[in-house]
Symmetry: C2
Subunit: 330 residues, 2 copies
Amino acid sequence: MADVARRTGVSIATVSRALRGEKGVSEATRLRIQRIADELAYVVSPEASKLSGGATGRVAVVVPWIDAWFYSRILAGIEHELRAADLDVMLYCLEESSQRESFFERLPLRRKVDAVIAVAFPLTGPERARLEEMDVTVVVIGAHAGDFPSVRIDDELAARQAVGHLIRIGHTRIGMIRTVDPEGQSWEGDIARVAGFHGALADAGLDDDCTATVPWGIEGGERGMELLLSRADVPTAVFCHSDEVAVGALRTLRRAGIPVPAGMSVIGIDDHPTAELADLTTVRQPVAEQGAAAGRVVVDLLGGREPAERAVVLPTHLVVRGSTARPAEL
Amino acid sequence: MADVARRTGVSIATVSRALRGEKGVSEATRLRIQRIADELAYVVSPEASKLSGGATGRVAVVVPWIDAWFYSRILAGIEHELRAADLDVMLYCLEESSQRESFFERLPLRRKVDAVIAVAFPLTGPERARLEEMDVTVVVIGAHAGDFPSVRIDDELAARQAVGHLIRIGHTRIGMIRTVDPEGQSWEGDIARVAGFHGALADAGLDDDCTATVPWGIEGGERGMELLLSRADVPTAVFCHSDEVAVGALRTLRRAGIPVPAGMSVIGIDDHPTAELADLTTVRQPVAEQGAAAGRVVVDLLGGREPAERAVVLPTHLVVRGSTARPAEL
DNA sequence: ATGTGATGCGTAAACGTTTGCGTTAAGAGC
DNA sequence: GCTCTTAACGCAAACGTTTACGCATCACAT
């Protein structure tokens, strides 16, 4: 920076102001400085910047997993948006809740970032508190946590869209495969989807609590379907927590020799790429868009602007494919 | 830090040395300092640290895409390993080659990171040069680039394993679906796989150059299969650049009413999760392990240790499933 | 001509570390 | 008991920014 200043014939302070677009610099010199800085391929040292009261230009993204379709797409959306605003993305992957706890207790990103985007986390009260007392802006995706701005879908509505479809085409015995994480915890999204499931059934006077709870994933889906097939009152349709679970359910059905959709309708949530391959009816949620929306909120907040909305809820909609049909009895 | 020093009754310098485990501090005072620091939940400011000659504790991971199975798993492996070494991951996603160019020209991470892990990039000469003149340690995954340490699989060998299997079970007319990126560029991995394909055929005296080139992805696979089916000498088996491409090929075959494997054998590379679902024979490559290995190399290098190997090549092996069988004619 | 308020810019003091060099004290060798 | 070495520690100068403050300059109204 001193270099740029010398080259331009102004003081370091002026360069600093010019580069950050602060007022107090004439347009002429700003342009001159900008040009020289570009020539030298100069980039401000975030360290020095932060050290003297500026921003780090970094935002942390905290996810439970990265190697899962949903999270990697969210991440892609975030990255794209933040990159456009010249912010860097620091990735934190906290699989186990013990890691999460120690993370929020030690807060290793205390002075490392300007903002934190937490994806789909079941934030506990103390964790929220720690985040609040930390001096960063926080945005959550896929959950509402305290007063933090959030981006999500309406999970209950999505479930109602799925179950509503099954009811509309004539199903009366409908099961659900719900999920827990590897540690047996139910997450907010799942709870909302279960609520939507029961809500839709109750509205139609059909509620009979036909659910199976399994660990999230394809194998979970396989087992979930087995559980439902073990019941005395085997349902004619199954609403799955997500497409990957539904794919597992389909595998069990194939092995069981039960034709889909003739013998069993299956519906999921997500519109995962394999949903198209498996010809699976589902409720699509915009994933990358959620990440992008969260990114925009962060950019606004860091720029001192109030974001357009503090609680963004993106729409979901039914995608009808071949895994659902009228029940055979009708 | 000043606080800790005052509390302990030593100078700031001593605290700094003690906390970083440098010599020049007696064990007694080190322990005392450590205790006080823990009590105050003190963590060094990475900014200040870096500013005065220390390390940033950050490493950049540069990938072309994140929302793809391969890259997100690589990333997961890297993240896990670096997290264990207390290093932070900064994510850079450069989809288009124009972004890549400007990235390597402007080098926005000049003072931001200690190391760079470049994943599967076709690094051009100038880009390598820029990286070299920058003062960071570099590790590449899925390619060899200059003298940089690298982690990868032997793509040519993997191709030979796949094609060798097809030959061994009796196929003599074997096609390949190779891929290019959205901009029409062939990547190093693809070129090596093509070389392995031809090499294996040549060794068996079978080479007849039956390849189709398509953009990477499921749709590419669909089109690639269509192209091969358009030939006068339709092959009896197809080796696909990767499993996702193979899945596309399978879709086309299903639509065409050609039974797999009776009418056509299909094999891929990766052992993508959907390969199991699609019952696809494939050559498995360890993905997360490649990320982890690269992470370890970085950790070693930053720690001033020479890594165990400068060019890690991880093994691949055949996974036989139901999409391959002897050709019908035999 | 004088005062007033912006505007454009420079000066210098932070920010919280690391590190080269200097000082002190303790132990080793004679 | 004296020097010599070495270990343990303090001093102070960087590192590259941001920002409060101050000083000109200039336009404009008085």
